[in-house]
């Protein structure tokens, strides 16, 4: 299977390691990956902040770049959420019926990484080794917009050496919310401080999630507080270790 990788502008620029890890995991499982250079950004930040006219060309670009692939995979729940849940609305706003049809055709082929591994490949053990105490934060968009449910946890459960601990109040928002963290910085910080307390209470060394935007926010807070807890993207944990898959 040949999949189109959507690395997202955010990962491409700030968290390239997550992109490399995504490639590593997919290739380890025999998937042929392609990174179309013409990709830039899904338009989520513009669309969600209210700059919807400005997002339309980005939506069109995304559809142009990725329509030809059998499947599209991205290591970001929120960007996949944008494509799957809001692209239809964007096409409607653009008043472009042709675009709407192409969007509808593309949407079911776009997967967040854990969905792709579990639903499309049917794999829950990617052969990773990660000997650390880890807690998982389900980001709001993966949890509620995409409904990835227990998929990331099933993948983590099969990582050798890992000690997975439950996060109290896991489903509560970390307070990132894109421009929310800038426009309502005080409220965002209040939400973050509770999230950090819950993370610290688990005594985990690492907090993981399927989205680097939330992780940057959480990790940035943890770093400022010198907590010693590190924020690591799910893809990087799945890419770690020997690459030998277990028999389970």
């Amino acid at each position: 299977m040949r999949v189109g990788l959507f690395i997202t502008c955010f990962n491409d620029t700030l968290f390239p390691g997550t992109g490399r890890a995504t490639v590593e995991v997919l290739e380890r499982l025999g998937v042929e990956v392609d990174f179309p250079f013409e990709q830039t950004c899904c338009g989520q930040m513009h669309f969600n902040t209210g700059y919807q006219r400005e997002a339309i060309p980005l939506v069109k670009r995304f559809v142009d770049v990725f329509s030809g692939y059998e499947a599209v995979v991205a290591p970001s729940g929120s960007c996949v959420g944008m494509v799957r849940e809001l692209y239809g609305r964007a096409a409607e706003l653009a008043g472009d019926r042709g675009l709407a049809l192409r969007v509808a055709e593309l949407q079911p082929k776009v997967y967040e990484l854990s969905e792709f591994l579990v639903d499309r490949l049917g794999v829950t053990d990617v052969g990773a080794y990660y000997p650390h105490r880890v807690t998982y934060h389900p980001t709001c968009h993966s949890l509620r917009m995409l409904g990835v449910g227990g998929k990331p946890k099933r993948l983590l459960d099969n990582v050798r050496g890992i000690e997975l601990v439950d996060l109290p109040q896991a489903e509560e928002c970390c307070g990132f919310g894109g421009t929310f963290a800038v426009k309502n910085a005080d409220t965002s910080t209040a939400m973050l401080s509770d999230k950090m307390q819950h993370i610290k209470s688990t005594k985990a060394e690492v907090v993981t999630a399927g989205d680097n935007s939330c992780l940057m926010h959480i990790g940035g807070g943890l770093a400022r507080g010198r907590s010693g807890v590190e924020a690591v993207h799910l893809a990087e944990i799945l890419a770690a270790g020997s690459g030998e898959r277990g028999s389970s």
Partner: protein, 503 residues
């Protein structure tokens, strides 16, 4: 904290109607005041957490919960699509049952109608007073203040409403208006305002004190004022759902009853109650059945009020109705589940929203009723959310609040761009968004800007982390570090490893 800022954060908001200017401050300003109040955060956090857990259990025990949500949504959506017809039908049914129907375009008209009825029926002797059961629609139009100007006191009889009325504050929650207050605060208030001598802060003692005080009011009042949770178009039946029984006293003891309801509160048929009587109590107080549900249809001989008036309030609602995406906001049955599940509401409380409708539903309803562009406050509300979606998940009528928030943000930005003149175009956010949109629409420009970011950040990077950002982004680094931009972007790595188009 400046005193006037604090006042602005707790005072009752201005009445609003479509297009009216309400000079409310932006959410981030009032939120800051609220966030500084540790007592408030403690009171709130405790109360919402408890009810959140209970609601989940109450909804979870219904095997057909999702179907019930779907049904509630379908009924309300149908009502909104044919609201004009249902309203005429309701008017007809109420008249046939012996009631009088009044139409009020805005707050002023509605207040005038209620004041007129009150003046006529209070009589000249005794206290000039009406008793009221919790009604958000009358808070929306500031009925109490209006009556006060006419020399008529509106005595709130819902316990929580009474508390905030005595405290001179606005409501901070649509179901538990005094949620921001704890027992000790309430005890002090009662002792001071009701002149009751020493009280303990046991809930029973406080409730008993209120009961004695209110009983006198119920027995003397000639006019009762109520809101409505539902009105049945088919039969003309009005319904109030409450948990103390005080509402029932208000609607049955006085000779004259005036009900003020927003035009969206209609349900088509009696049997539609089946759905809402299951979803509303479970969503709001996590109860299987609501304690006091009162129904009345017009007037009846020797039972209840002799006169019944129904005031149908528009106050901006027909404009909301005209917006295809925003319209679903009118489906709200005011259960307050979205408030209790909202992490933003949870931290800042209701006053920060500067509206009688706080929380997620307020963030979409207030700017629509007041009008986009009517005040900095209204325009800031669609941004008072991290778009986490918890509100949508719990809403018993499936209002897609995040969808409406994003839609309204689009309207706020478009309004600024199209009507804000040169100043709006030069707004730093607008400039940044335009530049980014241009950059993202061209992969070459985009890659060039990645390199520029790498160079541009150097003055900010300290010991491997960025501790402070300039300008509008300073809020970000006030509490978080930012990792520096890595040397090699993903696309550069891919090109170097795998080859590909050279730029």
């Amino acid at each position: 904290m400046a005193r006037n800022e604090r006042d602005a954060a707790t005072a009752a908001p201005d009445a609003f109607s479509g297009g009216n200017k309400r000079d409310t401050p932006p959410f981030e300003v009032t939120a800051k005041v609220a966030l500084a109040d540790n007592q408030l955060r403690r009171n709130l956090g405790k109360a919402t957490q408890a009810i959140r857990d209970k609601r989940e259990a109450a909804a979870g025990e219904m095997p057909d919960w999702e179907e019930l949500r779907e049904a509630g949504s379908a009924i309300k959506t149908r009502v909104m699509r044919h609201l004009d017809e249902y309203l005429v039908q309701l008017e007809d049914s109420v008249r046939r049952a012996g009631g009088t129907v009044h139409w009020a375009r805005d707050a002023e008209e509605a207040n005038g109608i209620v004041a007129g009825i009150a003046r006529e029926n209070i009589g000249e002797e005794g206290t000039r007073e009406v008793v009221k059961v919790k009604s958000i629609a009358t808070d929306e139009i500031k009925l109490n203040e209006h009556l006060e100007k006419e020399g008529i006191h509106a005595a709130e009889t819902d316990l929580a409403e009474l508390i905030i009325q005595l405290a001179g504050e606005g409501s901070s929650h649509i179901l538990v208006p005094a949620i921001h207050k704890n027992r000790a605060e309430i005890r002090e208030l009662f002792m001071r305002e009701l002149g009751l001598g020493d009280l303990s802060d046991e809930p029973e003692v406080l409730a008993e004190a209120a009961r004695i005080y209110l009983r006198r009011k119920f027995l003397s009042a000639k006019v009762g004022v109520s809101g409505a949770n539902f009105a049945v178009a088919e039969t003309g039946t009005v319904c109030v759902v409450e948990s103390e029984g005080n509402g029932r006293m208000c609607t049955t003891l006085p000779d004259t009853l005036v009900t003020v309801m927003g035009i969206e509160k209609i349900i088509p048929e009696w049997r539609d109650f089946e759905v809402f009587m299951q979803t509303l109590p479970r969503s709001s107080t996590a109860e299987r059945m609501n304690p006091y549900t009162s129904f009345w249809t017009g007037v009846s001989e020797d039972d209840g009020p002799r006169e019944f008036h129904l005031v149908l309030l528009d106050n901006g609602r027909t404009e909301v109705l005209a917006d295809e995406i925003g319209r679903q906001s009118l489906n709200c049955i005011r259960c307050s589940a979205c408030l209790n599940s909202c992490p933003v509401y949870d931290r800042v409380g209701g006053h920060a929203y500067n509206s009688v409708y706080p929380g997620p539903i307020g963030a979409i309803l207030t700017p629509q009723l007041a009008g986009i562009g009517s005040s900095p406050g209204a325009d800031s509300l669609p941004y008072a959310s991290s778009l986490c979606g918890a509100c949508y998940e719990v809403c018993p009528v499936k209002i897609n609040i995040p969808e409406v928030l994003i839609h309204l943000r689009g309207k706020v930005v478009r309004n600024k761009q199209d009507n804000g003149g040169a100043k709006a175009k030069l707004d730093p956010e607008n400039v940044a968004m335009q530049t980014l949109a241009k950059t993202f629409s061209d992969p070459r420009l985009y890659e060039a800007s990645q390199r520029a970011a790498l160079v541009g950040q150097w003055p900010l990077a300290r010991s491997g982390a960025i501790h402070s950002l300039p300008g509008r982004l300073a809020g970000w680094t006030s509490a978080r570090d930012l990792a520096p931009v890595p040397e090699q972007s993903f696309r550069r790595w891919w090109r170097e490893e795998r080859g590909g188009a050279e730029r």
